[in-house]
């Protein structure tokens, strides 16, 4: 069992409240997943720059003077914003890979949560309310976001095993369920050049979609093909830079509720997660059909 929440805003006036709304939804799903929690926020678009969200178990040591350290190492100018165990490293877009490589080589205890133009991912072990509070998710603004509360069944309760998983630029995936063919799929994706941080089945699903989109599929097409290639139980909610997608396996035993108004599209593992959204009384509320892809783009 896990809890998923997602919010894709159509009305830009709601953007300053995205983090607050998602936090409320996430905390409501605590009893579906008290082990760990995470959130992906697609913030304000700054197309010129890039963001690397990184994590460390020893942030005091790893993040101290990180901007100076990276400048000395690469000659590039970056800005670093520390949020608890995470930090957002901002740079110009073409410098992202240089910085990422430098971190991997010289600060190997730092782990990358997400990379892209606008995505930031925060995830840790602990109760959802504590995780949300540590990163002050409630104060974040953005156009869309996805959250997950985890009850681990498939691999260890660790920061890296928490969702969302990000395997491509500005992409993320959260999963409720369990996959049965993830080991063979991981092997074949490795041959395609994908790399993996964990033994987690959900990371394989994320990498699968990334691989499909790298090969030219849009989000909807990638989700469509996942129905043929992934075996097991799943409800996925997926984010891209300007898109938001949902798919459930054909058996569809993992719960899902969606709501749509003129202002937003919302996803919850249960209706409880949606009850405080503005205008929910008059929203179109429905259960997504099995083996059916839903996606929205800005």
């Amino acid at each position: 069992m896990c809890g998923i929440v997602g919010l894709f805003l159509k009305d830009t006036k709601l953007q300053p409240q995205l983090g607050a709304m998602l936090t409320d939804m996430l905390v409501t799903m605590t009893d579906r997943g008290p082990d760990s929690a995470g959130i992906a926020i697609y913030g304000d678009g700054r197309d010129a720059g890039s963001k690397l969200t990184v994590q460390s178990h020893d942030p005091a040591a790893d993040f101290a003077d990180l901007d100076v350290f990276l400048k000395d190492l690469t000659g590039l100018s970056v800005s670093v914003t520390v949020k608890n165990t995470h930090a957002v490293v901002e740079s110009s877009a073409q410098d992202l890979e240089v910085i990422r490589t430098a971190l991997a080589e010289h600060r190997p205890s730092i782990r990358v949560m997400s990379a892209g133009n606008i995505i930031e991912i925060y995830k840790e072990v602990g109760l959802p309310k504590d995780v949300a509070q540590r990163f002050d998710v409630a104060s974040m603004s953005g156009s869309h976001g996805i959250g997950h509360t985890r009850m681990a069944t498939e691999s260890a309760i660790t920061t890296m095993g928490a969702h969302p998983f990000s395997t491509g630029s500005d992409q993320c995936l959260v999963h409720n369920g369990s996959l049965s063919n993830h080991n063979s799929l991981r092997r074949s994706l490795k041959r395609e050049g994908m790399s993996f941080e964990t033994e987690n089945d959900s990371e394989v699903a994320a990498a699968y979609l990334t691989d499909r989109m790298n090969k030219g599929s849009n989000l909807g097409e990638a989700l469509e093909s996942s129905l043929d290639d992934l075996d097991g139980f799943f409800t996925f909610v997926v984010g891209t830079k300007d898109g938001f997608g949902v798919v459930r396996d054909p058996i569809a035993c993992k719960p899902a509720v969606m709501a749509e108004t003129d202002q937003y599209v919302a996803f919850g593992s249960e209706y409880r997660a949606l009850v405080n959204l503005p205008g929910i009384e008059d929203a179109r509320v429905w259960e997504p059909e099995p083996a059916t892809v839903y996606f929205w783009e800005h």
């Binding site: 719960p255 249960e270 209706y271 409880r272 259960e287």
Partner: protein
Amino acid sequence: MQTLDMSELDLRTVNATLQQQKADTNQTVWEIVNPKGSHAIAVGLDGPIEVAVRGSTGYYCAGMNKEATVHITGSAGPGVAENMMSGAVIVEGDASQYAGATGHGGLLVIKGNASSRCGISMKGIDIVVHGNIGHMSAFMAQSGNLVVLGDAGEALGDSLYEARLFIRGTVKSLGADCVEKEMRAEHLEILGDLLERSGTDAKPEDFKRYGSARQLYNFNVDNASAY
């Protein structure tokens, strides 16, 4: 009418209050406000009371119901009216998975759609769905009636025992050992009564009946080597 406000009362208090209403109660009409998708609302009722739940509910609303009439004005989460014994549960909106599962008696009316596994292992309950039902509905259904005004999803009535299935719309596929059967006068009578009690003027003649081919659950000595 007595009002129970779930923004002020916890679930156990709400349910205990309703469960105390037995056959001789004078307080027969109740409403629950601010349900906000909570789980297990109005379960285990045991008296002839009417309960209106004003809003949408989470898992297992009105489970194990006996004699009471529970009216949900919104939609219901998974397992609504699970294992109902008698009485009635009416859902104005949609119902999620396994609505009316294992029900022994009473009437469940869903005015919207029901999703997968509606009436799974039903044991005497009557279920009327005004919209569509999802896949694997009436799986291993033993007795009772499932009536659907809309369409049925894949594998309807898989491994069916003696429940009767009446579908007005299309059936995506029939499950193992489920077949279309002749609609006789006695079936039209049962169906007409259920349609009327569920508040629709749909015509029994527009439905098809499905039931068990009885090839799967009867022991057949010719298959002994397979067991």
